[in-house]
């Protein structure tokens, strides 16, 4: 029995960039973007000395006269209808406080959850006391953004069968800006793995439920492999959606052991090959 240890030198550091064409111009905080005359300032910018300057590190986006800077790393800025994966932090009066990776903690009202079994809720003191049985601190849920309060904090709801408490699986955290917005964020991949790509950058990987439980013993599940593929794509700053993840997953087959994908060279290789697959 021997362990696997690999120590690299800083001089052998791997460049994770897989961009095929020119990388876009990157603005740093405080950098002058343009003069004030013809443009309007948008998100991620501020005006100083008659210039529009960037307030975050990211790429510039221009819509007609409006100039915005989109940061790579940021907290999640919610939009109504987004699918999020979040963790319960606190049980409060008639509501749960949940973490959605946004600047402020989000709220899940007791009135915006479905009780298990579709039971209708009676507004009573008892069901407020039952709240911890429903969701307790540390539990993970998938939910949808119902509304946004004036201070920017989010109100969630789980009033649909596809939302609710999550059971066994792995949570992977990535930058929210890397999640590509799609119609569907719930994916059942052909390899027996299901994904919830939360718009807030939290990704939930879990085994697809169809097979009976005894089947689990036959083969080690594919969740760890999926996790490593996602972290490889994230390290190379590639957009995540079901296609890019499936391509990365197929690329990862050539590695015998799943832990090999943790090595930086392998991560770049997986990301590079899947980016070629996507563009072709």
């Amino acid at each position: 029995m021997t362990g696997h240890v690999s120590i690299k030198l800083a001089s052998e550091r791997v460049n994770h960039s897989v961009a095929a064409s020119e990388t876009p111009r990157f603005y740093t905080p405080g950098e002058v973007i343009c003069g004030l005359q013809d443009f309007m300032r948008g998100h991620g910018t501020y005006v100083e000395d008659d210039c529009i300057k960037s307030s975050v590190a990211g790429v510039m986006q221009k819509v007609n006269k409006l100039i915005c800077v989109r940061p790579l790393k940021s907290r999640y800025v919610g939009e109504i209808g987004d699918v999020v994966v979040s963790r319960v932090l606190e049980v409060q009066q008639k509501r749960w406080k949940v973490d959605t990776n946004s600047r402020l903690d989000s709220i899940l009202q007791l009135s915006s959850v479905n009780l298990p079994g579709g039971e209708l809720r009676r507004r009573s003191a008892e069901d407020e006391q039952m709240m911890r049985q429903l969701l307790q601190e540390g539990d993970l849920i998938s939910a949808e953004v119902q509304s946004i309060f004036s201070d920017g904090s989010l109100s969630l709801h789980t009033r649909s069968l596809k939302y609710g408490k999550l059971s066994q699986g792995i949570l992977v955290k990535v930058f929210p800006s890397l999640i590509r917005r799609r119609k569907n964020h719930f994916h059942n991949l052909p390899c027996g793995v299901s994904l919830i790509l939360g718009n807030n950058g939290y990704i939930w990987i879990y085994p697809t439920k169809e097979e009976p439980i005894a089947f689990k013993e036959v083969e080690k599940d594919n969740n760890p492999e999926m996790e490593n593929c996602i972290s490889a794509l994230t390290a190379s700053k590639m957009m995540l959606d079901d296609t890019s993840i499936i391509f990365a997953y197929e690329e990862s087959f050539k590695y015998d052991k799943i832990k090999d994908i943790l090595e930086p060279e392998a991560m770049v290789d997986v990301a590079l090959n899947s980016s070629i697959e996507i563009s072709s």
């Binding site: 120590i7 690299k8 800083a10 999550l166 066994q168 080690k220 799943i258 832990k259």
Partner: protein, 308 residues
């Protein structure tokens, strides 16, 4: 590390994985995550190293000073560890938050380096009973991504490997006082013999088994973790192949964190597992350090530091 609790099902999933010797990122129970190491990053320190293990980032600097040896050990030098937890690492370290953790790590290192078979302090002696070198090992924790003890001990060993102690050119005896004249030439110095310096291995008990190098999630679902200090093997740190230097790793220190308990069986099993892990770590560290030394000899080394 406290932070946000995990849900019961996540804990169950992690425990199941550890039971099957197949953790949530595909590693087995004695595998480490890939690390990155650079020595000689701080130009004004006698020796320095930076180690990055996943999200854990450690910077170590070694400083030398001339001191008087302890009266009961006139032939031995001194070594002192100081750990500083930067509040950049986690918000919990703000103010005095990281102090407890810092003293725990430095005490553990002190204990592990205490044995003469682990680290030979007589090589720091200049003048028996009168003067010796004192090494100040300053450890800065820049980012905290779990498994601090192991990363710190690796970085310390690398920094000590990088340390050069200036040679004494002449000594003037003037009554009871000694005036030393040190060599000004930076190349006129000796390396320390750190082959047998100990490494710390943290073993987290998850379910019935122990794992090394836990991720932050895994650390959160352990009730008790053991830290064992295991001395290194000199043969990994030299290019000359000498059979005589082949010594077995020895067990130098042990510590326990967390509120849980371990049965004697688990303890011996964990120590054995720690021995295996330490041997692999030691071998990998030695190889990397020799490779870097080789590069320095062949061409001038660039410092990469924190910039990419």
């Amino acid at each position: 590390m406290s932070g946000v609790p995990l849900s019961l099902t996540e804990i169950f999933y992690i425990e199941e994985g550890v039971n099957d010797d197949f953790r949530s990122d595909g590693r087995s129970n004695i595998d480490y995550r890939p690390m990155e190491l650079e020595t000689d990053v701080v130009s004004h320190a006698t020796g320095s190293a930076r180690l990055r293990l996943a999200n854990t980032d450690i910077l170590v600097g070694v400083k030398t000073e001339i001191d008087v040896p302890k009266p009961d050990m006139p032939r031995e030098g001194k070594i002192d560890f100081f750990v500083d937890c930067s509040a950049n690492a986690t918000p919990e370290f703000e103010g005095r938050g990281g102090e407890q953790l810092a003293t725990r790590i430095s005490n553990m290192l002190q204990k592990a380096y205490h044995s003469s078979q682990a680290f030979d302090l007589t090589q720091l002696c200049i003048f028996e009973g009168k003067q010796c070198w004192k090494l100040y090992v300053d450890i800065l924790i820049l980012e905290c991504g779990g498994n601090l003890c192991d990363a710190v001990s690796l970085a310390v060993k690398a920094a000590l490997f990088n340390t050069r102690i200036p040679l004494v050119k002449a000594a003037l005896m003037d009554g009871g006082n000694i005036d030393l004249e040190l060599s000004d030439d930076p190349f006129d110095s000796k390396h320390l013999d750190i082959g047998s310096a100990p490494l710390l291995v943290t073993l987290c008990k998850i379910g019935e088994n122990c794992v090394v190098d836990p991720s932050a999630e895994e650390e959160r679902c352990t009730v008790v973790s053991l830290v064992v200090g295991i001395s290194g093997n000199k043969k990994y740190y030299t290019n000359e192949a000498k059979e005589s230097t082949n010594v077995e790793c020895k067990f130098t220190a042990i510590g326990m964190n967390g509120e849980g308990s371990v049965t004697p069986d688990t303890l011996t099993q964990a120590i054995a597992q720690g021995m295996i892990a330490a041997k692999c770590l030691d071998e990998a560290l030695g190889k990397t350090l020799l490779r870097e030394k080789d590069q320095v000899v062949r061409f001038k080394k660039d410092t990469y530091g924190f910039l990419k």
